[in-house]
Each structure stands twice: as C-alpha cells, then as structure tokens.
Symmetry: C3
Subunit: 141 residues, 3 copies
C-alpha cells in the first residue's frame, strides 16, 4: 500500500456552487493511476467554503443549492454575534459545517468510482472568497 | 496493510430512513475479518439518497428524521428551477448533500467499532428511488 | 504503511460547541509523529453529539453555531414521536446527523494539515450528555 498527497490551489470562484471534478482528476491523474484499489480524500483548508458531491449535469441544481442555502442560513440573523467580517461571513461558516469540509471517494482501477450523475462541488460561500487551497490524499494498493 | 473493495446492490427501499448496518456487515464479513485495525468506508453512488449514522433502536427516530427533513427541505419551493424530474427530486438532492454521501467507521479486531446505539442509515429521498448501489472499501492491518 | 488506533474518553462538556483540536493532538501525538504522509480519522461513538471543523479563533462563532442550530432544529416540534428521552434528545439526533459523526484530516510530516483558521469542534447537543468517547485512527507512510 502507498499514500500520495498534493496541495492544489484553486482559482477564485464567485459565490455559489461549482463543479470541480475534472480539476481534481487532472491535477492528480498520475497519482490516481498508481492505485488499483483505494480511496481519494479531498480536504478544503477553509471554514467558509465547503466540499460535497451532487448532480453533475444540470446547472440549475447548483443554482437551487445556492438559493436554498441562502434561505435556510440567513444573513443578518438578529442573534448572530460574529458580525464584524461582513454579513456573508457567519452564514458561510454555518453552510461549510452543514455541507462538510471534505469528500472521500473510492478509487477502482486508478479512477474515481463515482456514480454516473455524481460530481464534486465546491461551495464558495463568501462574496469574495479568493483562491482556496485543497489537500488531495490517495491511498491503496 | 491491505485494501479490499466490493460493490453492493441494495434492494429498493421506500422513501424514508432505513437501518442497513446488518446488510453491510453480512455482505462484507469475510473482508472485515481480515482487518485487525483499520477503517470501513461506505459510499453511495447516487445524488438523491444519503448515508448517515444515527440511533439504531427506536424506529420513531427514523420517522422523525423523515418528518423533520421534509419540513426543512420543502417540495415545490417557488425558487426551485430544477423541477422537471418531479417535486421530490430537488429536495432529494439537497437532503443528500446535508446528510452526506458516505460514512467512515473504524474497524477494531475485524468488526465495526460502532457505539452501542449507532447504526448506519440509508436515507431514501425519492418516492420511487429503486435499487441503490454502494461501494464498500476497507483498509488496515 | 501502518495504522494506529486509540480510544479517547472526553470529559463532560456543557451543551454547545467546543474546540477539541489540542486535546486530540496531545492524546495522539506519538502516533501522529510516526506518519509522514497520511490521514487522521476522528469518530464519535454517539448519536446525540457531533464532530465538525470550523473557525478556531473567535468564540462568538461557536455561540452562533449553538443559536443557529437551536432555531433550525427546534425542540418540541409537534410532529416528533420520539419524545420520551427529553425535549433535547430528538433535536440532538438531528443535529448530529446534519453536522456529522466524524472528521477526516490529512497528516503531513507527522502533523495535522489544517488550515490556519480550522479547529475540530465537538458539538454537544444534549443538556447533560456526560463523557463522550472518540475512536482515533491514523494511517499512512
């Protein structure tokens, strides 16, 4: 068994949900190819952006994600005490905790064993989040 | 260290939350027995069903999960744009993202090291989701 | 590659969100040091407390987490059927499922490779949850 790891700097994305499956597969292709059976872990080193897996085909799903989470995690809630980093900051922390800081995906024959309709989503929850850093780790035989 | 992996096809479940701990333990018993110290990862290859861990004893907990998530993730929200696959589809994608696409559980002495009251839940979020496919991967010494 | 595992008993925490990064790093320091490149998995063996990663600096963020989740997962909802363990019990199960039962963090050069502002949160969702048990597992080269 072996473990391979790499840091990946993403370009800045606008607020919303974005498909990053191909970005990850391309950056880590040589490492994934070395693993016949194993796992990929993608970790985001931030607390106001998230990673999740969802539908990879229709962009209106990503738009509905943004609209839903903006309603269920409001800005300017009267009980927020952490409000000095902008009205989008505290909701971004909550959205990141609800959606998660990482995804873990099986590797089979050197490739991500995702379902047909699955893609990796970056959730950028800040208005101006800037570049985000991922840590990619894969292990297996 | 070694890695073992298997695909597991579940029977169709009705909409709601279902305990699948024993199904997974039985299907993967020989593989789990080979690992003294390690991890099990259970991955669902779908975007409208979920996996999580929760209370394994009282079925009213699973009923309350269904009632809660139906209220917090409504059908027919006026702002949904992804509405052509049925009123249960977009809520199913959101529930799957909130609850998660996988669970990761320690293995100790060839067995899942769950707490006394913990079980693995399948969240079937479609009215007629059909059979779902899991990828089981275990690794360790 | 190797796998190391340890059970860690936490002291009782009051209801709310608590930073436990240092507690975990200290309890598992010798094990983490043995791994140059790998992963740490922290698993909570309970269904009414949770683990997540979020902002490690400003305690008002943890307070806002508690206030937000108390509102979005209400006590005494009229549709709850699982109500005989106290009004805080069913909400605790739901919060645990939303936030998650585990965190997985890359290890680089024998240390947790967290972002600057990331810490591990224990979410204690019961009024009197008592001591909680974690299973720590690390693997890698």
């Amino acid at each position: 068994m072996q473990t391979v790891q790499q840091t990946l700097r993403l370009p800045a994305y606008p607020r919303g949900f974005h498909l990053i499956t191909q970005t990850i597969e391309r950056a880590f292709a040589n490492e994934l190819r070395q693993i016949r059976t194993g796992m990929l872990h993608v970790f985001i080193q931030h607390t106001s952006a998230s990673l999740t897996i969802n539908e990879n085909a229709d962009p209106t799903v990503r738009g509905d994600f943004e609209r839903y989470f903006n309603r269920t995690v409001p800005e300017n809630a009267p009980y927020y005490q952490h409000d000095y980093e902008g009205s989008d900051d505290m909701p971004a922390h909550l959205k990141a905790a609800i959606l998660g800081h990482s995804v873990t995906i099986p590797i089979t024959n050197g490739r991500l064993n995702l379902g047909t309709w699955q893609g990796i989503y970056l959730g950028e929850h800040r208005n101006d989040g800037g570049s985000r850093t991922l840590v990619l780790t894969a292990w297996g035989n």
